[in-house]
Amino acid sequence: MESKRQLLSGNEAVAWAAKDAGVRLGAGYPGTPSTEILEALGALGGPAEWSPNEKVALEVALGAAYGNARALVTMKHVGLNVAADPLFTAAYTGAPGALVVVVADDPGMASSQNEQDSRRYAVAAGVPMLEPADSQEAYSMTIEAMHLAEQWLLPVLLRLTTRVSHSKSIVVRGEQAAPPPVGFVRDIPGRVMVPGHARQAHRRLREKLRQAAAWSETPGCGTRLWNGRGGPVSSHPLGIVADGVAVLHAREAAPEAAVLQVRMVHPLPIEAIRQFAHSVERCVVIEEGDPVLVDACRAAGILVAGKPEPFRFGELNVGRVRRILAGDTSPEPMPPAGKPPQLCAGCPHRTVFNLLRDMQCIVSGDIGCYTLGALPPFDAMDTCVCMGASIGVGLGLRHVLPDEEARRVVSVIGDSTFIHSGLTGIAEMVYNPPPTGHVVIILDNETTAMTGLQEHPGTGRNLCHEPATRLVLEDVCRAMGVPNVVVIDPGKEQVRLAETLGRALREGGLWVVVVRRPCLLSTIRQKKAEVQS
């Protein structure tokens, strides 16, 4: 029996909370910094699954919630873009079971292509959002989100950031709860979102959000007061409004200040903030990322100071918060650059990128370890936008470039990324083929390597590494009507790989080249697992 007092990462804390709350289904797609939540839930007995992408994961979780189950869905910030379609309408339908959507932002982009701020999604979709500052809060807010979702019949977003997800701190767990019984109750006007039903549903959503706003305004619910030096808040020369891990940076940077922690960032406890801001002499909003809180305060006519524009970029820390409070806009010292990551020695992707460089290809790239092909010594990637974009972007280039240039365009995509968002790109390719044809290389290392070797439908194993039905990439491509589909081992068939690629570029037509060899790291892990078992 695990002790109830543990040192946990924010991600592990969310998993423990899901277990203790009796979550019946956890679904998601791997993405830094969110990945470990479902891995931990799987290790705790789950049930947890990797879905092909975040949209499907959210839909599966929504279905579970329609069946009155407690469901958890996890993703990184850009994953919420993919899952945004079901999220916005799930807000209309609501669900009797709790649907808690965990989204992990990456301010500073430790491992992401942008630093978008998910708090905007809560406002745009009309979904309540809670934001913890550390692992204990990640635990308690996950459970709180379950209860609120059931009370309001609304999905609830839980926003984490890198430093909440990946920092460890002490968590004291609560009691395990028995979840409500599952079962389906028909509600056609409530869940079939044709316009006539949806018009009513939108009105219901706004009414539910009014209830959520009233909860948010209640002291101790949407806000928590940290009164550094004690005494009445009204005597404080400095008041700080902050959310997430910025609360901890602010409390350390200004121990004498009164800090109003915003626990619920949507609906924002705006009257509680107004009262706080009025009671202190000077009120400063400390938030990572976009000026979400400060803009909302100002729109409500609350006089607050925000952060200067340079602090919109990157993570905050104690030093940067001190600068904001001091109004110091002098250039910040640049930290010395560390050693950048690179493709592992012996990585099977290396063969392909050496070839693409030597053949002077225009490479439309994608998201994964192999994005490192853009760096020396390869310099063999020209674009990287989002999951699956390699195929569409490559096709667009092929359509417009002069023949000689168009024939050099190649799309490069990983196996997990291909299943996530590449299949529709193949449909586009066979449906609207460019005059010069196109070449898609699937770098199949039989794992989701970038995020730490997660399974996906193409590996033939489920989240817990147990056997599952395998989606065979070359069969799928053939079935979709790609005339030339070739599978090549980059370790043993380097000459054949070069010849095939040369021929495909020269002759035109539509090609998918599956370059398949297992990731070195996953091979090592597999061997370790075999030794231990």
């Binding site: 040192l7 830094t32 910094p33 430790a110 491992s111 992401s112 550390d134 890198t162 430093r163 990946h166 920092s167 460890k168 701190s169 002490i170 891990v245 901890l248 940076h249 409390r251 350390e252 820390n317 104690v318 030093g319 010292p333 930290p335 010395p336 650059a337 560390g338 050693k339 950048p340 990551p341 690179q342 493709l343 592992c344 370890c369 490192l372 970038m450 995020t451 730490g452 231990q532």
Partner: protein
């Protein structure tokens, strides 16, 4: 009570995360409030890896502010220029050179040997360290790592006695 700020730095694959897990767990077992921060992701591919561990009566931010490290443990000396500015002027730098003359039987245990050196500077009982090592590593690695830790600790204590 003094709060302790420690960073462990090196390259992906050198056991930086494991070492910081052991340190944080040892402080946790000794009854302190503890926070540990790290960055995952691209850093797994041989790039710089950095972790912060803070412990004391109450820890707020999980990240150590620049210039406030009490100790910087380098598992790879190439990471010194990247992290030096984070150390207090009187802070303690522990690098692989300190282990060079220890005759470490297994080079894979360098990270844990360096923890042994560090442990001589910290108010954490040896039982907490040993339990944390056993908790973090598979059983077959216990003997080698406990040995490396104790070797490092003895060197650290000797160095303390000399200074």
């Amino acid at each position: 009570m003094k709060a302790y700020n420690i960073a462990i730095a090196g390259l992906g694959g050198q056991g930086i995360i494991t070492a910081s897990d052991i340190l944080a767990d040892a402080a946790f077992r000794a009854g302190y409030d503890v926070k540990k921060a790290e960055v995952h992701g691209m850093s797994q591919r041989g790039g710089s890896v950095n972790t912060d561990v803070r412990f004391g009566r109450e820890v707020l931010s999980p990240m150590v502010p620049d210039g406030q490290l009490d100790a910087l443990v380098l598992v790879d000396e190439t990471q010194e220029p990247v992290n030096r500015h984070r150390l207090r002027p009187d802070g303690c730098l522990i690098g692989p050179a300190a282990v060079a003359n220890m005759a470490l039987p297994n080079p894979k245990t360098l990270n844990v040997a360096l923890l042994g050196l560090l442990s001589a500077q910290l108010p954490l009982p040896i039982e907490a360290w040993h339990e944390a090592i056993r908790h973090a590593l598979p059983e077959k690695a216990h003997a080698a790592n406990l040995g490396a830790f104790d070797l490092g600790r003895r060197h650290g204590e000797t160095a303390n006695g000399e200074s």
